[in-house]
Symmetry: C2
Subunit: 384 residues, 2 copies
């Protein structure tokens, strides 16, 4: 049985991962679960999977949980506790903590596991080089859980075009998010509820808002760049509302290979956990019904923040750290009803207009600039 | 420069192959061209490609051609001439003769070439085992030109599911042919012109009629069976009007891989000639425009001859030889206006109702039963 640590077990990816593990009787032993503060869900997960270790980010919730738990189960808490939790030895670690707070536990955990199933995007967006350098040094495998990157991984797993010079370009598909078709003038009035109603994927709130601005797709372009060492010029985006085809690769002779599965995260999670085996029981395309796959070119003018994200990526300095921090802060404020949807873009572009450009050399650079940008973003939001 | 023989150079595939070769300056030397009787087209091809050998099936046309040609060019004619032509040594032979008349030259040529780029279906439908046994014995590579089988070949070239047990099934796509949506009661009245107006592919007349009855798709299922040694139960058909995705493979975990290119035969021909290289310059999917790929399950009741073809395939006796012969004879009569579209099915099912079932052991069995069925079919047509 493979020992598994789940970082972010009560979120959307974590819950789906536990469903996949629950089905794969006798193949995985969940040794640890980490969560932010949802002790009710965590408690149910503990009862079902009987881990030896749990970790809660929220210290007061951790105290509450401790009083309820059987003895012999070790509870970590807070940021330092999460780093201790990340030092536990595992065969596979699922990294499904949202945001940049995943970065330190990820870099720590790379030393203590054989495989990272990586669902977190922000760690690659802010520190892609550092993460892959560390993984290489520690000989730790990183498998992408994000469906588009997972699809590319599956395509490139066997296709030789990455190494034989026959790759023309790759296409990531984008549903267009919850606001596709919404008029520019109406964007300032859209409600949180509307933004969170994603047409195809059920995901956490941060990523769902990022899907509406397509910052999320920009992040996936960056993930693709780091995962496959691909130049940004070779990565394109296609609007594909149905989210059936997740990625395509185009060979020099014009032939395309596509990877398809229904929009259900259990499929890429199952792939990342079972690889190189494939397990039955995932949601399948039902060919007994008719279905359509529609594609259209992306209009960058509809998604100004996507362009901002891709421009920042190409600068290869601290701008992605700053962009991500502003995005996290602004979305958090939008979800609390403090700012309008269009203010997310305002905050990001305003902070990125004037920032001291610096190279990112280590994790302290990342966290320092993250902190700098958060303060700037909060200041701006207070003045809005 | 690779020495190339083209069998069927004046047909649709042959002409496209010469376009591909014409573009690939300095890579191929066309040493021989064979045609049925179209000496005007052949003459132009001779002037452009300057082969050393030509072959015409029609002996009187061959005599006409000889009088026009420069000395030093050897002209073969008739069936025996074609077998001599097939004994010429080449690096690659494109087999694009239509119908069962390709079988003997193919079996002969396997001994004299390194690679067959196979566009002919009937040789595999009537003698798939014999063809692949001979290719194995002679260590001759056979690459599929037919777009669906070519797409599967490209998918399986690297995907390991054929050997590692992870293959669930394969899907061949079908446009549905020129008569999709035509009501049953109107089928007896459809004109040759309407049947030949294929929605997506420009092809020769025989295959275009076979595309309307979907006998062609049945033939592709049989090709798939022989090319990849796949059980018939693992091969499905999907209606996909746009002919962009040519085939899909489904892994046991539900993930699908698809191969796409625009419906232009130059792409699979170029693949089969250049393999393992890939050459630029083919028609590409234009992602600057929107496009849709629609899929629906096939209704077998709409295509009774497809069911007849698949049933015959599974009997593993001489029934496919008989079916193909009746189909060739009936289509030839339909194209001449002698019988109605619906008579094609009548002829095939009538002959297949009562036939002496025999195993096919060698090429003489194939040609014997082919001849037997042709006589039966002609008799039936005379009585219609």
């Amino acid at each position: 049985m493979k020992k598994v640590l789940i970082f972010g077990s009560t979120g959307s990816i974590g819950r789906n991962a536990l469903k996949v593990i629950g089905k794969a009787k006798g193949q995985f032993k969940v040794i640890g679960l980490s969560a932010n503060r949802d002790i009710d869900t965590l408690n149910r997960q503990i009862a079902e999977f009987r881990p030896s270790f749990v970790c809660l980010n929220d210290r007061s919730q951790a105290e509450k949980l401790k009083s309820r738990l059987p003895k012999g189960l070790e509870v970590f808490s807070g940021e330092s506790g999460l780093l201790e939790f990340a030092s536990l030895e595992s065969d596979i670690s699922l990294m499904a903590i949202s945001g940049i707070s995943c970065l330190r536990p990820l870099l720590k955990n790379i030393k203590h596991t054989k495989r990272i199933a990586l669902a977190n995007k922000e760690s690659l967006v802010t520190a892609g080089s550092l993460v892959f350098e560390e993984a290489k040094k520690q000989k730790t495998e990183i498998l992408p859980v994000d469906s588009e990157i997972n699809a590319l991984f599956q395509l490139f797993e066997t296709n030789k075009s990455l190494t034989n010079g026959n790759l023309n370009r790759v296409y990531l598909t984008a549903s267009g998010g919850a606001l596709a078709g919404c008029k520019h003038k109406d964007l300032s009035k859209v409600t949180v509820g509307r933004v969170l109603a994603h047409p195809t994927w059920k995901m956490g709130p941060r990523i769902t808002v990022d899907s509406a601005t397509l910052v999320n797709k920009g992040f996936e372009v960056i993930e693709t760049h780091f995962f496959f060492n691909l130049a940004y010029e070779k990565i394109d985006i296609l609007i594909h509302r149905e989210s059936m085809i997740h990625a395509l690769i185009e060979e020099t002779d014009g032939t395309l290979f596509a990877c398809l599965y229904p929009p259900d995260m259990k499929t890429p999670i199952s792939f990342a956990l079972h690889y190189p085996d494939r397990k039955k029981g995932n949601c399948k395309v039902n060919f007994k019904n008719s279905f359509s796959c529609n594609f259209r070119p992306i209009r960058y003018s509809d998604y100004p923040l996507l362009k901002v994200t891709l421009d920042a990526a190409k600068r290869n300095d601290n701008s992605l750290v700053i962009l991500n921090a502003c995005d996290e802060v602004a979305i958090s404020n939008f979800l609390k009803g403090k700012i309008k949807f269009t203010d997310i873009g305002k905050v990001i572009t305003k902070v990125l207009e004037k920032y001291p450009a610096h190279q990112i050399k280590n994790i302290n650079d990342v966290l320092g600039w993250d902190n700098w940008a958060r303060i700037k973003a909060e200041e701006l939001i207070d003045k809005l």
